[in-house]
């Protein structure tokens, strides 16, 4: 079980993600922000539990569904909101947007728009850290749909081969876009697939952040001690659509209702007392987080727009400027 400090961080983080994403849904409905928006609602416990088991200096890769991972990696809420708005103080200077929220300084290698692009990248970081003698590990977050992509298999095979400290975090949220996971998988679950790589793998509840934390901590401890890769499939549910605007016509109402009974926020609230957070403490924490989120968005909304010409920066470390700008 996490100590008091970690526990409090986990609660804060869980609400940060949920309240942040609820604001995003509102902004999407109001068409107040540009671009595609993929919210993390339903999988918060995964990012929170795994990140609590990792150190700030461990590496992760994320996906187009990147808000939750970034928040749990302690990327400042304002810089995430500002990025989604496409403003200068955005974590990517407004060049990435919602699908690419990634802060290298906080241990994020990238947030990829290409399904399954992350695992090999995280693998490489894990290999380099180990060959240098560091005990940093790398965790790659990806969805249930990504396991059909060849790149995932290549990364898994090489990870075993190189005994790399790579934690493969599969977020099984029940759907890959408008396709049900129980239909797209050939196996009972994702964990069963890893026999192909002689890789330890397990399927774990992804709704309770403490269960996630326990499973991730055990794997991380093994890796810090020189162990190799492991896959953990965390089972959650995608309460929102694939992206904001998806009408979810294919998600049965009963299914959603059933899943809501184990909503990660609900479960966390139920365990709060047992974890040493009484009603008062919890509502105070939630109020603080709400204020934090409100402040982040208020400032983001007012943050300055990038200069058009900023589109020409940061392509290369060094390159003749006149061969970038053809205007």
């Amino acid at each position: 079980m996490p100590d008091a400090g970690v526990t409090e961080w986990m609660y804060r983080c869980l609400f940060r993600i949920r309240l942040f994403e609820e604001r995003i849904k509102q902004l999407a409905a109001d068409k107040a922000v540009p671009g595609y928006l993929h919210t993390y609602i339903g999988s918060e416990a995964i990012a929170v539990g795994v990140m609590a088991a990792l150190r700030q200096d461990d590496w992760i890769t994320s996906t187009y569904r990147s808000h939750g991972h970034a928040i749990a990696k302690n990327v400042d809420l304002f810089s995430i909101a500002a990025e989604i708005y496409g403003r200068v103080p955005g974590v990517c200077k407004g060049r990435g947007g919602s699908m690419h929220i990634s802060d290298f300084d906080k241990g994020m290698l990238g947030a990829f728009g290409i399904v399954a692009a992350g695992p090999p990248v995280a693998l490489g970081a894990a290999v380099q850290e180990r060959r240098r003698g560091s005990d940093r590990i790398a965790a790659s977050f990806f969805g249930d749909g990504a396991v059909h992509n060849g790149v995932f298999h290549e990364a898994a095979g090489l990870a075993t081969h190189w005994n790399a400290p790579l934690l493969l975090v599969c977020e099984n949220n029940g759907y890959a876009e408008a396709t049900a996971t129980d239909w797209h998988l050939n196996t009972e679950n994702v964990a069963q697939m890893m026999g192909a790589y002689a890789m330890p793998a397990q399927t774990v509840d992804g709704m309770d952040m403490f269960t996630v934390y326990e499973a991730a901590s055990a794997a991380v401890a093994r890796m810090r001690a020189g162990g190799g890769p492991e896959l953990i499939e965390f089972v959650s549910y995608r309460f929102s659509g694939q992206f904001e605007g998806d009408r979810q016509d294919y998600q049965p109402a009963e299914e959603i209702a059933e899943a809501s009974k184990r909503d990660p926020v609900l479960l966390a609230r139920q365990r709060a007392a047992q974890m040493g957070l009484d009603e008062a403490a919890l509502s105070q924490l939630v109020a603080e987080v709400q204020a934090e989120v409100d402040d982040a968005f208020t400032r983001a909304e007012q943050a300055e727009w990038p200069a058009p010409e900023a589109a020409l920066d940061d392509v290369y470390v060094s390159y003749p400027k006149e061969q970038i700008d053809y205007a």
Binding site: G35, R95, H100, H148, E177, V315, Y326
Partner: protein, 340 residues
């Protein structure tokens, strides 16, 4: 004639060819949607792809002919190629052209080369449909055009329609064609309307369309750039500059004759392509003119393209990044004023 959006025109082209030929089979991710929930009302065809282009086809033709796939592009593109050789006419959707890198080998080394490499005994009559283009605030991995990656490869045919009628007629040709065809659809054009003929009227591949007559400068515009070229031309006309706009529509093969004869008339050419500048269609067409149209040229062959950078997300940067009517007009004026 009734007007249709580009999106509906493409849907109609698919529907009509599928009615006519039971071997036309669609592959793609959520091109219908709702797999695994067919017993739930509204699940099937919930999507029709992220833009709803194929919506309704699964309801009419069933899951055998409208195949939602797993996220395994190399796998299902390879399967389409194999099916195509033995009687299928697959139409494979690559959800965004930006994903080309995960199945490029199938198109470059299998679809494009098999007929040639194996002595001409087999054909690969498949179509790859894919979505391109910026201006959607979709960022660096959902906004690329990448036309030239495919136009570079011998064995592939490349189509990139601008208007609804062209989209329908050219897609019909692409599906009936016995060679592999890459068919680009621009996400910012899906809602553009045009009068579209009923029925399966094919428009032959390899013929451009002169979208505007003019005597001073030839503007060759790639796909969505026709829209901006039109706006630039209207403005320039007020200053008495006559712009002739040519939409090649297909890039392999290319209607060289239409381009060169227009340049013969105007003596000036500006090529507009929202792609990356290096080794792009813009460079390819400019090089063609510089070689075969040189004698007619009275000014340098100018290009309007994106800068040599990935596609930025933030609106002010993306708007600056994409060619604009203003930039096109500026280049046209440059061409006209050259040497004066």
């Amino acid at each position: 004639m009734r007007e249709l959006t580009v999106k509906d025109a493409i849907n109609e082209a698919l529907r009509e060819t599928m009615r006519a030929d039971p071997d036309v089979v669609l592959f793609g991710e959520d091109i219908a949607g709702g797999q695994g929930r067919d017993d739930y009302p509204g699940a099937m065809d919930a999507w029709g792809g992220p833009f709803g282009v194929t919506k309704g086809l699964c309801t009419e033709f069933g899951r055998d002919r409208v195949r939602d796939t797993t996220i395994a592009e190399a796998g299902f593109f390879g399967a389409a190629i194999g099916g195509a050789m033995v009687g299928m006419r697959p139409v494979c959707e690559l959800m965004y052209a930006d994903f080309a890198g995960v199945c490029f080998d199938q198109m470059m080394n299998q679809a494009a080369k098999m007929r040639y490499m194996f002595g001409g005994k087999q054909n690969v009559p498949m179509v790859m449909r894919t979505v391109v283009g910026g201006g959607f605030r979709a960022g660096a991995e959902h906004s690329q055009t990448l036309y030239s990656l495919f136009a570079h490869i011998p064995g592939l045919k490349v189509v990139a329609p601008y208007s609804a009628a062209d989209a329908k007629g050219l897609l019909i040709s692409a599906i009936r064609d016995d060679d592999p065809v890459v068919f680009f659809e621009h996400k910012r054009l899906y809602m553009q309307k045009e009068a579209v003929p009923e029925g399966a009227e094919a428009i032959p591949l390899g013929r451009g369309r002169r979208r505007r007559e003019g005597g001073d400068v030839t503007v060759i515009a790639v796909q969505r750039m026709n829209l901006f070229a039109e706006q630039a031309a209207a403005e320039l006309e007020r200053d008495g500059i006559g712009v002739e706009i040519i939409d090649p529509r297909t890039y392999a093969p290319l209607d060289e004759e239409m381009i060169l004869s227009s340049v013969k008339k105007t003596g000036r050419a500006v090529v507009v392509d929202e792609s990356y500048p290096r080794c792009s269609l813009a460079a390819d067409i400019a090089a063609l003119i510089a070689e075969k149209g040189f004698a007619d040229l009275r000014a340098p062959v100018l290009r309007v393209t994106a800068p040599h950078t990935p596609v930025p997300f933030s609106p002010p940067m993306e708007d600056y990044y994409l060619p604009s009517p203003e930039r096109i007009a500026r280049r046209v004026r440059e061409a006209v004023e050259y040497g004066k």
